[in-house]
């Protein structure tokens, strides 16, 4: 146990030095100096509870993705049947999570089956095909394809969210997916998340649809849409809903740019530019319908319904509504970053002011200083030279924890600081166990070398078992815990590993070196 060949000593010191070096940038910046930019810069990130900022948990509605998919499939089928020309279908619906319709006769069932099969392009089936009562066809999305659709929608959503947050100009946001249908957004330093939330709460699905001037106002008021129309409410309160043509409109996904501007009356508007294809579509729509009104619809609500005075062929247009400069700007950002494929809802929000965070860091540091100081003093008083070894191990342990955290770029949170302080308390336990055991063996009359050897050997068993149980607890905290629990568990695990190394291996090396050099007949412990 007490035999340390030269190469082993060099190896241990090298590891220690390397890991401790990694803590340097963090320490230098805490002390208020700048770390030279030319050197590698691994750093511990401060969690939002320490740095201040906002944490948002957004949830996408998976049902909406499914519904959109069913709608798109219905549209695709309608077009395919029209093109094929040999299928008569009716009573089509996409409610209840399936597409269901009746065809004219059993021969057409096979024709439909062919069409559906042809639409299946991937390696696995997206829709299962079933026939009920000989002529009713039911298409059900397969589970895998539904999950994949949600997954794709989430990927797009994350991209859009990122673009929108970048547009706000905030620094270093963290945007990660959590589980199947959630996104975590963390923005350090953001004091008031309301503008961020307004931005993310906007799906920004823009549509241009023709207003049906013939629809009767009483029908609309009763919510009865004329055939081929849909009723859309106004975004502005107090305006009656209007009826618009369901088909033949333009979607707003063909934009190349959107900017906040002012119209001739100096009222805030959003100026948009279409890409070539969108510009052509828009030109055609406005040429064919000059003199009529078209509705600008955002997320299912009418912003405005201006009359087309002259065809708009330049590929750019102006969206008016009752905007303030801020809301026009927000809409412009949302349109530029594209529409969210699915609505996002804020289900959890945490904001920490910067003062509290700074306060926590300071107090955490003081507590750590006082705690460590007292522990170091006690260890020296109780175990003498062996206590000093333990103290040196403790200091190295602290540096190593910081170093490992820097290299892994872990986030230090407030519970993390508590975990840190606790690790210091627990790290000395290993040395207490060892030193007590050496005392005991000496009391039993064993010689110095043998006592130290036995002390390390017998204590190691309990140290090992105790640390394994702590790792088990920490691993489960990490796996199941959220937020604060995770931050705590990370520091705990790192601390357990480094403390075993420093408190057991390093002190043993030092004690062995000292014993070999001086060969004492008695030790003061």
């Amino acid at each position: 146990m007490l035999d340390f060949p030269r190469w082993k000593q060099v190896f241990y010191w090298l590891i220690t030095a390397l890991i401790c070096c990694a803590a340097l940038p963090s320490l230098v910046s805490v002390a208020g100096y700048n770390w030279p930019a030319s050197l590698p810069n691994p750093k511990i990130n401060l969690g939002l509870d320490l740095a201040g900022g906002s944490h948002l948990l957004l949830e996408a509605s998976a049902d909406q993705v499914v519904a959109q998919r069913l709608e798109a499939k219905e549209e695709e089928l309608r077009n395919a049947f029209k093109k094929a020309g040999n299928v008569q279908f009716g009573d089509i619906s996409n409610r209840g999570g399936v597409i269901s319709f009746i065809v004219g006769n059993t021969a057409q069932v096979d024709a439909v089956r062919d069409i559906v099969d042809k639409q299946e392009t991937g390696s696995q089936r997206n829709w299962t095909f079933a026939v009920q009562d000989t002529t009713r066809i039911v298409l059900t999305p397969t589970k895998e394809s539904a999950n994949e659709a949600v997954s794709r929608a989430m990927e797009t959503a994350i991209e859009v969210v990122r673009k929108r947050i970048d547009a706000l100009g905030t620094r270093e946001p963290t945007i990660i997916r959590q589980g199947a249908d959630r996104i975590v957004v963390q923005v350090p330093g953001l004091k008031d998340p309301s503008s961020l939330k307004a931005l993310l709460g906007q799906t920004a699905k823009l549509e241009f649809k023709l207003v049906d001037e013939l629809a009767s106002a009483t029908d609309i008021a009763q919510g009865i849409a004329p055939p081929g129309d849909e009723i859309v409410p106004y975004a502005e309160a107090g305006m009656p809903p209007i009826a618009v043509k369901r088909l033949g409109g333009i979607k707003g996904d063909r934009l190349t740019d959107a900017k906040q501007g002012y119209n001739q009356n100096n009222i805030p508007v959003v100026n948009i530019s279409f890409d070539t294809q969108g510009g052509e579509q828009f030109a055609r729509l406005t040429t064919e319908n000059t003199g009529k009104r078209f509705a600008i619809i955002l997320d299912g609500k009418v912003l405005s319904a201006p009359t087309i005075n002259t065809p708009i062929i330049g590929g750019s247009a102006e969206i008016s509504g009752s905007f303030t400069v801020e809301s026009a700007n927000q809409l412009a950002i949302s349109l530029r970053s594209g529409a969210l494929p699915v609505d996002l809802k804020v289900v959890e929000e945490r904001t920490v002011g910067p003062d509290l965070g700074a306060d926590s860091i300071n107090k955490g540091m003081i507590a750590m200083g006082v705690g460590t100081g007292l522990v170091v003093l006690f260890m020296a008083l109780v175990y003498g030279r062996f206590g000093l070894y333990a103290n040196a191990a403790l200091v190295i342990n602290v540096l190593m924890i910081l170093g490992v955290m820097s290299v892994m770029s872990t986030t230090l949170t407030l519970p993390g600081i508590a975990g840190f302080v606790l690790t210091i308390g627990a790290a000395v336990d290993a040395n207490v166990l060892i030193n007590e055991r050496i005392r005991e063996e000496r009391k039993r009359g064993r010689r110095v070398f043998q006592s130290v050897e036995l002390g390390y050997k017998e204590a190691s068993r309990a140290i090992f078992d105790a640390n394994i149980t702590n790792v088990i607890a920490a691993a489960l905290m990490f796996a199941f815990g959220s937020g604060p629990i995770k931050g705590f568990a990370v520091v705990l695990v790192i601390g357990i590993v480094t403390s075993v190394f420093t408190a057991v291996t390093m002190t043993r090396m030092w004690v062995a070196g000292w014993l070999r050099r001086t060969r004492p007949n008695d030790i003061n412990i």
Binding site: R350, F480, N524
Partner: protein, 327 residues
């Protein structure tokens, strides 16, 4: 230099003599804790019941005007707020239910936070809003469930590990001590009505880890002594093991308490509840490893045979021959 000895060398306290009365007291305390948890209830934070929490510090005052705040906020029409100081006398957390319909319209919760913060700032010049937490009902249910899972699984996994390393009696003993510690901590939160949130779950997990650390050290010594002193009666052997490890127990618990008291006195006030929970846990955990996990071994009839490998046929022959040779 004369070194400090916290526990005199030839200490021999008969811990196990009092095992029954202490066991009964512990049992009663556990029952009382749970009774309190169920009658008084825990003061659940927004993490577990959903709602909004606003943290405010009154930078120029020594104490926060809690009663006045309650009145001012109740006037806003969002229902009766729960207002509590935490850590320091001049820092409060204000908790409110999320307004009706806020699961559909996130703006409602936002508006509430703004209105409440504005009202507090208007009435108190020195109020500093330190943070706002909003947790929806759905998320809070999940947080509660995952926290419960983490606690349950950690307890079971650790007990299984101890069973594997020692014997089944030790696994049960450790599990029992662990239930005891968690129960009393819950009792503390039921009595003091300190806020019970996610960080407290982390605290309980730490207590579990620490208490087991202690239990394992004692168990390790029991295992060693069981092999060494095959004929010693169990209560005596347990006493010996506890006494032999006593100075270590005192020293380590002392060190932990030093760091924890430093955290309590000088540390960030936001984690006051967390630190308080662990501090209690150190006392309870140290006690339980002596008075819960050790005596259980007596009742579960641990014998030295538990750690001695079973005899092979050859060894049996040899033993019989040896014994036969003796007069």
């Amino acid at each position: 230099m004369k070194l400090l000895k916290l526990v005199p060398d030839d200490t021999n306290i008969h811990f196990l003599k009092w095992r029954l009365p202490f066991f009964i007291v512990s049992g009663l305390l556990m029952i009382a804790s749970w009774a309190l948890v169920f009658t008084h209830g825990l003061n659940m934070g927004v993490d577990f019941v959903g709602g909004q929490m606003i943290r405010v510090t009154f930078t120029q005052s020594a104490t926060a005007p809690v009663a006045q705040l309650r009145e001012e906020i109740a006037k806003l029409g969002y229902g009766e707020p729960i207002i509590q100081t935490f850590g320091a006398e001049n820092a409060v957390s204000v908790r409110l239910r999320l307004p009706e319909g806020s699961d559909k319209n996130a703006g409602l919760a936002d508006a509430m936070a703004k209105k409440v913060s504005a009202a507090i700032r208007a009435a108190h010049q020195d109020a500093r809003v330190d943070g706002v937490d909003s947790v929806s009902g759905k998320v809070s249910k999940e947080l509660g469930w995952t926290a419960f899972q983490a606690l349950g699984l950690a307890s079971i996994a650790i007990s299984i590990y101890i069973w594997y390393r020692f014997e089944w009696q030790f696994g049960i003993g450790a599990l029992f001590a662990l239930v005891h510690d968690v129960s009393l901590t819950m009792g503390l939160f039921a009595v003091t009505q300190m806020e019970f949130d996610l960080t407290i779950v982390a605290a309980i997990l730490t207590i579990i880890g620490y208490s087991l650390n202690d239990t394992i050290v004692v168990y390790d010594r029991i295992r060693e002594n069981l092999k060494k002193f095959r004929k010693m009666p169990l209560p005596e052997l347990l006493d010996l093991s506890v006494n032999e490890t006593l100075s270590r127990t005192v020293m380590t618990s002392g060190m932990m308490l030093i760091t924890l008291v430093a955290l309590l006195l000088f540390g960030p006030k936001v984690i006051f509840g967390f630190t308080a929970a662990i501090t209690l846990g150190i006392f309870v955990g140290t006690y339980s490893s002596v008075y819960m996990s050790a005596p259980i071994l007596v009742w579960l009839r641990v014998t030295s045979g538990s750690f001695v490998p079973t005899e092979t046929a050859l060894e049996r022959q040899e033993r019989l021959a040896r014994e036969g040779a003796l007069p």
